[in-house]
Every structure is written in structure tokens, then in C-alpha cells.
């Protein structure tokens, strides 16, 4: 890992994004999703962030100290009232569904297309306090086809029309974001297209696949795949929050590995169980056995996908892990998992308790800087 915190007065290098000191009051959408809660937790350690408001239709799954949760569905009138009342300057939208196993097609569409439009609508208005919008998207935007380039760059459009409902929703959502950016040039809009994420905690189609005793492959194909570590995704969101990085960026670790190479790093055997012809039928019978491969990943098992990650690096971002290191880390975790089982604690959000802890005059509260060992205002990681 080569994370070297930059000194305060240090000159920024050519091409790096300037710092944005004005991010103070943040709205995180999708607080109950993995990314929403991870991000809120990370933002809590920055003293200069005065307010973190999280919205979602479900309660958060992790314990948060000062993030305030408001239970609200994607209704733009309510969201707009929250944004105005709390004087939100930065909206970070982490709510996009990028795995078709996580939600029914209908819910995913509702969330990805309609939800995005509502959130964008909540950020507009003549005297809206919002000046920054960060949208977490996915490299599913590019799809995965036979005649794809080996490395997608940010300015490439999708070469073929989307094949699955989820991909269509992601393309639609991004389209409304870029239209929004064009129409509101005073807003700094950042889109982060994240590659497939791996990590000990995150639950994706690929982490599920790599938890199996052997790694399923399509016979005769060894796709090139690129991943990103879960921590790096959180750091990239932080980086976008604290820098003026407007535009579209791919978020993917260095290195494109073949699936067999990844299986080797995880210490598992590749198993070509899926036939090259009639793959759809075979996944149907796999589903009956209790293992599902989402449609948007199926093509990736054949043709793979690589993206160019240099544009984000040029803004001064540093990745903590390469794709190879990400796979190795996951391998370590998977070997340890059977030993650690049952040790993790579960958390349930209790509204009364959370409100008591935040607002009761009898609770003694410390600023993060007063806590032992906490840096007063730590540098955003990955810088």
C-alpha cells in the first residue's frame, strides 16, 4: 500500500483536483445500503463536516454516532424540504442498485430511474443550498460484449444497447444525471463508475461466487476482469467530497486479471461448469441448486471488462489496493471466515435510543477531536 498523506501546504501536482473546503453539510442517500452506511461512518470522523443526514426507506444496519437518519422514500418534495431545512451543500447519492439479485426488477427500476430523478429534482430550485452532487454509478454502464475495447475510458459511450433491465436502468440514471449537470452548470457534478467490488464485508455477485468451493467458469473462456476493493470505493467517494472533481471517473483498481488468475490467488480451483452454448439454460439449473448468477454478470464471465482508471488518479487519488491485492485480501478473509463465524455482532436501529443519544441534555458528548487517538481533522484517505 502506498498511501502517503499529503502535507497541508504542499503544492498540488499538475492536473490534480483542487481541494474543496466548502463541504460541510452532507446528505447521504441510501443510508441503509452498504455504501451509504460505510460512507456516513467515514464522514463522521471529519470534524469539519457539521452535519450528516442519511435518508432511506429502511433503517441503517450499522451503529452511527452523529449521522441523523430520516426515514423517507424517494419523494422529491420531502427530500427537498430536508435539503433546504438542513442547508445541505453536498448530496452524495449511493443508492443505485447495481446487482439484480439485490432487488426485484421492478424495485430496481423504481429506485434507479425514478429515485434518481426525484433526488435530482430535490437538489434544484432557485435558492437551493446544494452546490455539489456526487453520484455512485457502476461500470455496468459499459456492458460486456465481444467487440468491446480492452479498456473503457470515461468518454466512451456504451457500444451496444443494454441487454438486461438493470443495465438499462443504470444507463437511464446516468443520462438523467448528465442532463442535470448540463442544465445546472453552477453545480459540481461527479459521477463515479465503480468496477465490480470485492472485499470482506461487501456482498456482490462476485464475492458470492468466490465464496463457493470452486470458481465457476464458462468452458473455453477466461475473461479479463478488474475489481476494486471496498475501502477504495469509500475513499473515492470521500475524495470526491473533498475535492473539486467534476466529471465522470472510473473507479477500478490497477491491474486487469484473468478469472483463472483470480481463482489461483484465492486458492481455489476454476471449474468450467457453464457450457459455452446454452449458458442461460445452465444457469437456470444452477439456480435450482441454490446458486444464482445475475444476468449482468453472465456476459462478464465470457467477455470480461477492463476500464482505464487513470483519470481519477490524475486528480490526486491513490488506490490502496491493486486488483491482485484485492483478490489476495479476499482470499485471506475467506480462509478466516469459518473460524470467525458468529463472532460479529448484529445491530438494530432503535429510534428512541438513537434520538436519546443525540439530543438528550444528559448525554455527555465529545467532539471527535477530543477523543483519544483521533486526529483532529484527518486527511481524506486515499490522497
Amino acid at each position: 500500500m502506498s498511501v502517503t498523506p499529503r502535507q497541508a501546504g504542499e503544492e498540488r501536482r499538475e492536473g490534480e483536483a483542487p481541494r474543496d473546503e466548502r463541504t460541510r453539510r452532507v446528505l447521504v442517500t441510501g443510508l441503509s445500503t452498504y455504501w451509504g452506511s460505510r460512507l456516513a461512518l467515514a464522514l463522521e470522523s471529519f470534524e469539519r463536516i457539521e452535519a450528516i443526514i442519511g435518508v432511506d426507506s429502511n433503517a441503517p444496519n450499522i451503529e452511527l454516532e452523529r449521522t441523523e437518519f430520516v426515514k423517507v422514500t424517494n419523494q422529491h418534495s420531502l427530500l427537498e424540504r430536508i435539503v433546504r431545512a438542513a442547508e445541505i451543500d453536498t448530496v452524495i447519492d449511493t443508492r443505485l442498485v447495481v446487482n439484480s439479485l439485490m432487488a426485484s426488477p421492478r424495485d430496481a427500476h423504481e429506485n434507479n430511474v425514478i429515485g434518481t430523478m426525484n433526488i435530482l429534482a430535490a437538489c434544484t430550485g432557485a435558492d437551493s443550498p446544494v452546490r455539489k452532487f456526487i453520484f455512485k454509478s457502476s461500470t455496468h454502464y459499459y456492458g460486456s460484449e465481444q467487440d468491446d475495447p480492452a479498456f473503457f475510458t470515461e468518454h466512451m459511450r456504451r457500444p451496444h444497447p443494454p441487454r438486461t433491465g438493470l443495465e438499462r436502468d443504470i444507463v437511464d440514471a446516468e443520462e438523467s444525471v448528465s442532463e442535470f449537470a448540463e442544465r445546472h452548470p453552477h453545480l459540481a457534478v461527479t459521477v463515479l463508475r465503480c468496477a465490480n467490488v470485492l472485499g470482506p464485508d461487501v456482498d456482490t455477485a462476485f464475492t458470492r461466487m468466490f465464496r463457493l468451493p470452486m470458481v465457476p467458469m464458462v468452458l473455453g473462456f477466461d475473461p479479463r476482469l478488474q475489481f476494486v476493493h471496498e475501502d477504495d470505493v469509500v475513499h473515492a467517494l470521500e475524495h470526491a467530497a473533498f475535492h473539486d472533481t467534476r466529471g465522470i471517473y472510473n473507479v477500478a483498481a490497477d491491474g486487469v486479471l484473468s478469472l483463472s488468475e483470480i481463482a489461483g490467488l484465492l486458492g481455489k480451483w476454476p471449474l468450467p461448469v457453464l457450457p459455452p452454448w446454452g449458458t442461460g439454460l445452465a444457469t437456470g439449473s444452477l439456480r435450482r441448486l441454490g446458486f444464482r448468477i445475475p444476468d449482468e454478470v453472465l456476459n462478464q464471465l465470457r467477455f470480461g471488462r477492463g476500464v482505464d482508471n487513470r483519470l481519477l488518479k490524475a486528480t490526486g487519488f491513490h488506490y490502496g489496493y491493486t486488483t491482485r491485492e484485492t483478490a489476495l485480501k479476499l482470499g485471506e478473509h475467506l480462509r478466516l471466515a469459518p473460524v470467525m463465524r458468529g463472532a460479529e455482532q448484529t445491530y438494530t436501529y432503535e429510534r428512541e435510543v438513537e434520538e436519546f443519544l443525540r439530543w438528550s441534555p444528559h448525554v455527555r458528548r465529545e467532539r471527535p477531536s477530543e477523543r483519544e487517538g483521533a486526529a483532529a481533522d484527518r486527511e481524506p484517505l486515499g490522497i
Binding site: D148, P149, E154, L219
Partner: protein, 305 residues
């Protein structure tokens, strides 16, 4: 056709920069973007293109070595015309059902060049969708022929790339049309080299046409098998798939011609000039054709050289 969906190399970035342009990052300062390429991880067995040094080395020491040295007895001229540091686009004639010319050119550079560099070969997208081939071809240095791939290899990574502008028209060619160059596509390779400011090295190969003469193409069998083409050669389909590797022992000669410096011609900006691109493509084609005729007239026997 797939061509129409393909992304142009330099489409504008979607989100406009409106407020204080000066403070914003410059989009792509070339030198800096090159520095930001992923570092090479020595523990890895493949590179980011899926190329495997191990598998390639194994092939190189066995099959390719045998064909290059003993079967085809390849001879090389003008190796000094291949750039030893910067990016270079080798443009060659192409022939044979499963042409051995690409492997021989790569081997020639590995054997004769003062700086033996790997050569990336552009291949049809077809192979990426074909089970088995899709695993093997990237491992030995094949890269799908997409303009963005060629650009990254030439411009960012400064590698050697081999293209056959005749493409499928070259491999479909029958024995009676041997050494007569087909049309050079739309000059996409010239455009790619100019954008990348890489040298263009015209390359001539003789021997490949005799090593696997194609007598005829059977269209109906091609459709039935789903192959790119279905040739009838001295050994295929009689010996099954292995017939594709049964070459006749023709003598190979490879000649690298003087490189064309695209940076001198105006580089990336001139790549927009369609007329210039076409003229250059025609000129390269003419030079290869001329040299092929010259090499053929000097050859006493197809088998002994």
C-alpha cells in the same frame, strides 16, 4: 454492423466545465497520463491484456522455434527499421488459412532485434467469442482489433503492434491470387498510428502463401460450422483441426521496410485529414506490393529460397 456502434476515439466528455476553468484539472496531460499507467506487478503471470509470458515462452521454445528455424528457415532483412523504444505499428501482408506469418514476424523481432520486444497482434473480435480460442489468443499476445486498443498500446504503452490491413480478405484469398494485396480497409491503421504518433513500419512476408495454399472456400460448410471461413487446403479438412497446423515447408523471408514517421506528418491533428490518411494507406500498400514483387523475382524456388 459492429463498426457503427463502435465508439470514436475522441468523443467529447459529457459533463461541461463551466465555473473557473483555470482551477480545474487539465483533462489529460499526455506525459502525466502515461505515468499513471498501472505499475507492473512482478508476481503476476499475465499482463493487463491477458498475455502470458509462460505460455508464450513455452510456445516460443517449441513450436514456433521449430517452424522458424527448421521448417520455414526464416530469413530477415531490415530489422533496424523496427523501432527499439517508441511505439511502432507493423503493417504486413497476410495469407494462408491459419496464417503463420504473425508468429514468424514476432519471432523475428525476438531473435534478431537488438531490443527483443514483444509484439501485440491485432485479431478479429470473432475469436473473443469462440470458446477455446478466446482463452488461448490473448495468452500469446493477441489483442482484439479495436481502435482504442491500438491507441493504448501504441501511445500509452509504446509497444509494437502488428496489423494486417487486408484482414479477413487476406486470409480468404485463394492460391491463384497469391501475393496480390487486397484492399487496405478504410485506412484505420494509419489513423491509429497518426493519433498515437507512432512509426509505421511496412513489412513484407513471402513464403506464407506456399506454406498453406488455399484452393477454394466452401461457403455452405462455413455457414454450417460457424467458422470465419472454410478453406480447402492440402491438409484441411482432411486431417481435421490439426490440418490447420500442417504447413508445407516453404522458405520464409521477412523484410521490414523503412519506417514512416507519423509525427513528422502532423501527428494527431493530421489524423483528421481523411485524404492524407487514404493517401498514406495507398502508399504503404504500394510499397509492400512493390517489395513483394521484388522479393519474388529474386526467389529461385518457393521451397529452397
Amino acid at each position: 454492423m459492429a463498426e457503427e456502434h463502435r465508439t470514436p476515439l475522441a468523443a467529447p466528455i459529457e459533463i461541461p466545465d463551466e465555473v473557473d476553468e483555470a482551477a480545474l484539472p487539465d483533462r489529460r496531460p499526455a506525459e502525466r497520463m502515461r505515468d499513471l499507467l498501472p505499475a507492473i506487478e512482478p508476481e503476476r503471470r499475465l499482463d493487463d491484456w491477458g498475455r502470458s509470458e509462460r505460455i508464450e515462452g513455452l510456445m516460443d521454445r517449441t513450436l514456433v522455434e521449430f517452424f522458424y528455424r527448421y521448417w520455414f528457415r526464416a530469413e530477415v532483412e531490415g530489422i533496424e527499421n523496427v523501432p527499439s523504444e517508441s511505439g511502432g505499428l507493423l503493417v504486413s501482408n497476410h495469407a494462408g488459412a491459419l496464417p503463420p506469418d504473425a508468429a514468424m514476424i514476432a519471432k523475428a523481432i525476438r531473435e534478431e532485434h537488438p531490443n527483443p520486444r514483444p509484439v501485440y497482434l491485432t485479431v478479429e473480435h470473432f475469436f473473443k467469442g469462440y470458446p477455446g480460442f478466446s482463452m488461448l489468443i490473448p495468452k500469446v499476445g493477441g489483442v482484439p482489433a479495436h481502435p482504442a486498443n491500438v491507441h493504448r498500446l501504441l501511445y500509452d504503452e509504446r509497444q509494437l503492434v502488428l496489423v494486417f490491413p487486408e484482414g479477413r480478405k487476406g486470409t480468404e484469398k485463394l492460391y491463384r491470387d497469391r501475393y496480390r494485396l487486397r484492399r487496405f480497409g478504410r485506412g484505420g491503421f494509419v489513423e491509429a498510428a497518426m493519433r498515437a504518433e507512432a512509426a509505421l513500419v511496412p513489412t513484407c512476408v513471402i513464403g506464407a502463401e506456399e506454406a498453406m495454399p488455399v484452393f477454394t472456400q466452401v461457403d455452405i460448410l462455413r455457414r454450417l460450422t460457424g467458422l470465419l471461413y472454410f478453406p480447402i487446403t492440402p491438409t484441411f479438412p482432411w486431417l481435421g483441426p490439426f490440418g490447420m497446423l500442417a504447413y508445407l515447408p516453404a522458405k520464409f523471408r521477412i523484410r521490414f521496410l523503412e519506417p514512416i514517421d507519423t509525427a513528422e506528418l502532423g501527428g494527431a491533428e493530421a489524423a483528421e485529414d481523411k485524404a492524407l490518411v487514404q493517401t498514406l494507406a495507398q502508399e504503404i500498400r504500394a510499397r509492400i506490393q512493390e517489395n513483394l514483387y521484388e522479393m519474388l523475382s529474386a526467389r529461385k524456388s518457393a521451397w529452397l529460397g
